[in-house]
């Protein structure tokens, strides 16, 4: 994880949100600085499922995220793009508190799910991660059978009371992940024996088995071939009807294909966010333009 070395100015509370309007726009030639800035575009939506307000993340004394405020709308796919070390994955991980397990990681600001603070003292993180599921870059099925991979979550959350109920959840999840037809006769075979694309769809089935509301995807296709990638992208589009999806991707074409909104991160700052179509045809910030057109930043 690349981080920034510049200093903080101390003010990290939510009051900052109110005075963002007066801040000078970011100097486009400013690369190392983590000073004040203003996100260009529309970070807020009417039907927010999750909301982040003035989020700052530090790893020890390095700051990884600076004053990010962003809504994730219900049933939308939002893509987060940006160069390595821009903080997009860090931001994604704050949404289901995956950063909690990283030593020295400090998250400030407010993040809500359905208007409830997910960093509140009484928040059960296991429950939170069931509501906000995650799919990782490398498919990581458990070294268990395909069936067990999917059944694991519902079992620990007590979602099924009988074998028949569990069978139903497993089948439905595999079906939603577009994998059932391919594996229905080998549910007892190890999940690790599937192809990369199938494993990733198994991980998606595992994530949706616990009926999450939000699915976070951290470069879910970077280890897959174009056909497996196309399947996952098709799946993302179908899943959008039931779930809210936030995806981090290094592939600009993927962001352009699957998302309705796109957020561009640069050195821990949320530089620009808007309709995907606008970002890819007519971005407003020079840094966004430079990144998506492959220019020197």
């Amino acid at each position: 994880m690349n981080t920034m070395t510049a200093t903080m100015d101390g003010a990290t509370d939510n009051q900052r949100e109110s005075d963002t309007a007066e801040k000078a726009p970011l100097d486009i030639r400013d690369h190392g600085d983590v000073g004040d800035y203003e996100t260009i575009g529309e970070p807020f939506v009417d039907n927010a499922k999750m909301s982040a307000r003035t989020v700052n993340v530090h790893y020890g004394d390095k700051q990884a995220i600076k004053d990010v405020s962003l809504d994730i709308g219900e049933n939308e796919v939002i893509a987060m793009i940006g160069p390595s070390g821009c903080g997009k994955s860090t931001f994604l991980r704050t949404l289901n508190r995956m950063n909690d397990i990283i030593p020295g990681c400090r998250v400030e600001g407010e993040i809500t799910l359905d208007n409830e603070d997910i960093y509140a003292g009484n928040q059960d993180t296991v429950l939170l991660r069931a509501r906000v599921g995650m799919v990782f870059q490398k498919p990581n099925p458990f070294p268990k059978s395909i069936y067990e991979n999917v059944a694991y979550g519902p079992r620990i959350h007590g979602l099924a009371h009988t074998k028949a109920e569990m069978d139903g959840i497993v089948e439905k999840s595999l079906q939603r992940a577009g994998l059932f037809e391919e594996v229905k006769d080998q549910l007892d075979k190890p999940g690790t024996g599937l192809s990369g694309g199938q494993q990733q769809r198994l991980c998606i089935a595992r994530a949706i088995a616990v009926s999450p509301e939000v699915i976070l995807m951290d470069e879910p296709c970077s280890a897959l071939d174009p056909i497996a990638t196309a399947r996952i992208e098709e799946l993302i589009d179908e899943l959008r009807e039931k779930y809210t999806i936030a995806i981090v991707t290094h592939s600009m074409q993927q962001a352009a294909r699957v998302s309705q909104r796109t957020a561009y991160f640069h050195l821990g700052k949320l530089i620009e966010v808007g309709e995907t179509k606008e970002i890819f045809t007519n971005p407003r910030h020079q840094l966004t333009e430079n990144y998506i057109t492959g220019r020197f930043g």
Binding site: F280, P283, H285
Partner: protein
């Protein structure tokens, strides 16, 4: 995000810089060729020289070839580079300008064909005053639009669109005056009709030039100002 000249030199891929630069140059080269074609057609008209006019008609094949080459270049860039943002707008704008330039070439050839007919039938009662006037204006508009494209100059593009509105007015009054010639002398109807066709082609060229200016605004500002949205166009100057 407005586009600036130097933007085409800043890709991480130097080859991509070259490809976009070449595409732009080829488009401007084709523009120059079409400009020549139009000027030669107008010269041939002034001299009523059917030999020169035939040459203009012949030049059209070359322009057509350039059109296909540029389209091919654009398709290749889209397939290989998947351009986005201003690069995407450049490729889209050039695909469209390319079509307009080719049409201008066609219309110039049509003017030249009318010159051949007019040369056969002798002088006209109007002395081609209207055609000369509108022809020169349209040729100037084309030069200005291409200059604007070369310099990514939105201000100039707006002026071109404004000129076209005037050309349209002048076209209307030129047509009315040619109708009077026909009413005065029915033996002149054939000649005056040929003149009207030439005039009509010039007016069409004005429209295509106008499109080129609008594509330039899209390229530079990312705004679609087509279809009579002169106000939107004027706003985009800022």
């Amino acid at each position: 995000m407005s586009v600036k000249q130097e933007d085409y030199q800043q890709h991480i891929s130097a080859r991509f810089n070259t490809e976009l630069e070449e595409l732009r140059n080829h488009m401007l080269e084709m523009g120059g060729k079409v400009e020549d074609q139009l000027k030669s057609a107008l010269d041939a008209l002034m001299k009523l020289d059917s030999g020169d006019a035939e040459q203009v008609v012949g030049q059209d094949a070359e322009v057509n070839k350039m059109e296909m080459a540029i389209d091919d270049e654009c398709a290749t860039i889209i397939a290989r580079r998947q351009p986005t943002a201003s690069d995407l707008r450049l490729v889209i704008a050039i695909i469209k300008v390319n079509t307009d330039l080719e049409r201008i070439g066609d219309e110039a050839a049509k003017v030249a064909k009318q010159v051949v007919r007019l040369a056969e039938s002798g002088n006209s009662p109007s002395n081609f005053i209207e055609i000369r006037h509108i022809g020169n204006r349209v040729a100037q508009m084309l030069r200005e639009a291409l200059d604007a494209f070369a310099r990514l100059d939105v201000e100039q593009a707006v002026k071109v669109v404004q000129s076209d509105a005037e050309v349209d007015k002048e076209y209307g009054s030129a047509m009315r005056s040619l109708v009077t010639f026909m009413m005065e002398d029915h033996r002149a109807i054939g000649t005056v009709l040929d003149e009207m066709w030439a005039l009509r082609s010039l007016e069409r060229i004005g429209d295509h030039v106008c499109n080129i200016a609008e594509h330039l605004v899209y390229l530079v500002r990312g705004r679609d100002v087509r279809h009579g949205r002169l106000e939107a166009m004027e706003e985009s100057r800022g």
